[in-house]
Amino acid sequence: MADFDPIAGLLGGVVIGLAAVFLMLLNGRVAGISGIAAGAFSASRGERSWRLAFLAGLIGAPAIIALLGGSYEMPRMPSNWTLIVVAGLLVGVGSRMGSGCTSGHGICGIARLSPRSIVSTVLFMASAVIVVAIMRHGIGG
């Protein structure tokens, strides 16, 4: 439990929740990032602008944190390009096929007690845990 930080986790979670609630109360939309991203390029013209605006805000957030004096480091990524491409493809195909990702199913869906979202979250959590177990501990690999 080297980096365990429950306060930062809870606080960040509350802020994420506030963003999801305000997007629904003000615009009537679910804060599912994979759905927003996919629709930003394929939806009808009237549907595109709010999606692109949300993504722009998401990318702009590190600048706000930096202005407030917070630190923001380069994300530590694997050096294996094949692994990065395969993972990206799987995240892209899987989130569309399953109609959601960590935010859409894991937060917005479970908050509504949607059975689809509960099933999806259990499945993606379980498969991710198994993948990490194989990669780091060689279980079954």
Binding site: N27, A53, A63, Y72, M77, R96
Partner: protein, 153 residues
């Protein structure tokens, strides 16, 4: 106005991800690594986000319409089908391989990290591939592209 609200919500959402540390792939992988030095932080992020979202959504349910929109676009309650199961498992495998899901991946584009840019391009290609496959076999997913975008999130 809707675009301004969306931009601000994206900004707040991104700040939440940063505060929680979830933009860092090793933090996410630390949560998924239940056999190693388990880091439960992501569980606390989920708990905080769920408590706020569940309360706020319950309040929204009692409102007639959103402030800047005709109606609340709640995802339709459809059944649990094969696409949901297979898609979620594929998503989980990709998530576990690198520790990035769509939100933190897109937010991390701000660092101009070549690895993140390649990941997001591959993710976009995966989304496009699924859209192309669904358009080709309209019955396979049981839904057209527009419905697929609207569902769940």
């Amino acid at each position: 106005m809707r675009a301004i609200v969306s931009f601000l919500c994206g900004l707040v959402f991104g700040c939440g991800l940063l505060i929680s540390g979830m933009t860092e792939p090793p933090k996410v992988l630390g949560f998924l690594d239940v056999l190693g030095a388990w880091d439960p932080t992501l569980g606390f992020v989920m708990a905080g986000a769920l408590a706020v979202t569940a309360t706020g959504y319950a309040f929204a349910r009692r409102q007639f319409a959103p402030v800047f929109g005709a109606r609340f676009e709640w995802p339709p309650q459809t059944g649990i089908d094969r696409a949901l199961v297979v898609g979620s498992i594929l998503f989980g495998i990709g998530w576990g391989l690198v520790g990035l899901c769509p939100g933190p991946a897109i937010e991390n584009l701000a660092t101009l990290s070549p690895e993140v840019i390649v990941f997001v391009l591959a993710m976009g290609a995966g989304m496009a591939l699924h859209g192309w496959w669904q358009a080709r076999t309209p019955t396979a997913g049981g839904a057209d592209a527009a419905t697929a975008i609207a569902s769940d999130g």
